[in-house]
Point group: C2
Chain length 311, copies 2
């Protein structure tokens, strides 16, 4: 496939086209991904998540500038599952795109819509495959919302940064079990604000309950707007990578990621197959009519569909 070759050769336009094909789930996506997948194992995927207002976009910008200055190529994927309660991501993304517009070493894409090939998490995985096969050293995945979707996406990264800020209130950033599971590095951003020390102490207290010292996520203070702490953060990411490679954690994370990508793809294909064979639009609406009239219940309706498929 010529497009796959162009992507692997680092052609910027080919990369943009390939990402669009994959994101839109076009018919040629499976063959393209099949050609790229064997070459997609090298990039380090860094997830950046946290509540709105934590300064994630600015932080990602600073990380990108440092990495570029060190001669590394990177991709930035901003994922917004279009939650009505979050906003501004697309605008921030546009501003960022302008800042890096002349740099072919940075590829930026925002994924803002739903209904992706196998779910948004799986679709993000496919985009990562394309970027990794294009030879990017690091891919930053920024999730702009605060829901479970975003956590799932962030959780598919090799390294997950959870960005917190002082003063957002406990309710917004309540440090429940879920965050412990995904955070590899905690970032206390806007660390020049009142309450930063208290927040660091809270996170430390939480972590001390959670497990032995050796497995504890680092806590890094940053002031992204002033580019303070960015180098420390990159050092913490690298330290995590080295440790996770040695312990086998990185390999386990990548397996989980691939398992989810496989399951999402399977789910999607099953759905499509059922639609194409026994459950076209008309038949579906006929079933919904009968459900609305309470003539059949959802489970019995599903039994009918499976029966028609010979199951």
């Amino acid at each position: 496939l010529s497009l796959a070759d162009d992507v692997r050769a680092g052609d910027v336009r080919a990369l943009a086209r390939a990402v669009t094909i994959v994101e839109d789930g076009r018919p040629e996506a499976p063959a393209l991904l099949g050609a790229l997948f064997p070459h997609a194992g090298r990039a380090l995927v860094v997830g950046v998540t946290g509540p709105p207002g934590a300064g994630k976009s600015t932080l990602v910008d600073r990380l990108a500038a440092h990495l570029r200055a060190a001669g590394r190529t990177l991709g930035i994927v901003a994922v917004d599952p279009t939650s009505p309660f979050t906003g501004g991501a697309i605008l921030g993304d546009r501003i960022r795109m302008q800042a890096h517009a002349t740099d072919p070493g940075v590829f930026i894409r925002s994924m803002a819509t739903r209904g992706h090939l196998g779910g948004l998490a799986a679709s993000t995985g496919h985009v990562l495959t394309v970027l990794a096969a294009a030879g990017k050293d690091m891919i930053l995945v920024e999730t702009v919302g605060v829901g479970q979707d975003e956590v799932e996406i962030a959780g598919t990264a090799d390294v997950s940064l959870v960005v917190l800020v002082p003063g957002l209130g406990d309710e917004v950033q309540a440090l429940k079990a879920g965050i412990l599971e995904i955070a590899d590095v905690f970032v206390v951003n806007k660390a020049d604000r009142d309450g930063a020390d208290r927040l660091v102490t809270q996170v430390e207290a939480m972590l001390s309950l959670a497990g032995p010292d050796s497995a504890r996520p680092a806590i890094v203070r940053t002031v992204a707007t002033a580019d303070e702490g960015t180098a420390d953060l990159l050092a913490a990411v690298e330290a995590f990578r080295v440790r996770a490679e040695r312990s086998g954690l990185l390999a386990r994370k990548r397996r989980d990621h691939l398992r989810r990508q496989f399951e999402g793809t399977l789910q999607d294909r099953l759905r499509r197959r059922v639609e194409e064979t026994v459950l076209g639009r008309e038949e579906r609406e006929r079933i919904v009519d009968r459900l609305a009239a309470r003539e059949v219940d959802p489970f019995a309706a599903v039994d009918d569909v499976l029966g028609k498929m010979g199951w």
Copy 2:
């Protein structure tokens, strides 16, 4: 089915048991739901969503007290897709359970875990089926998070309340397109606070751009902690119901709800069938091994699985 009869007769213990069976997706759930589904069309389902800190739980409490005083029976379902950035819901729910513990006219259940039968939205739908078949007049579905999951759950209600508060900041409650689509009634809670007028004006301005006057959602001011505006809010809900019944909107909403419930159930059954026939745990891990070694890509692996099923 005797349990279904007991549920329909209003037996509180039977109701609790039935909800647990459905929530856990136990083997007897399909038959139980099949027996209850024909009798589940009457209850009005009211969704309550909004950002953390908006006072949704207190508001739901006040609505419940007013409805009980008017002799109506109700169910309260609190849905928390275990987002690590939200918190406190389960605690709030426990407090509420104590307040209504002696009142058999209120049934309260929180759904806090994932991995539900056909997804959390579908699972919520099944629980609503049980509560409606038990003869509840109204069911309040409170979603405690702010992500897409919660919006989907709230969007399956007959009437969706979106609760906003002054001073949370535009970023948290940015009024994007998604919120317009689900909101039937806007609630400006904590309306005694500074900024309430400005928030109402903002919502009005947004609504004036969106469509003709007749279809515009009402905006109701409340101070839930002081029980102010609760009666107005219930009146707005009732006015919406009457209008939506007349216009056919309510029937369309219920069709959409049932369509989603059917699709979630179908998806779940397909997944289970594949697991039982060709994709047991061992086979799945063998595939993940090959993915991790980059010997096969996710699409080719899915083709293999479908091939083994004779597709």
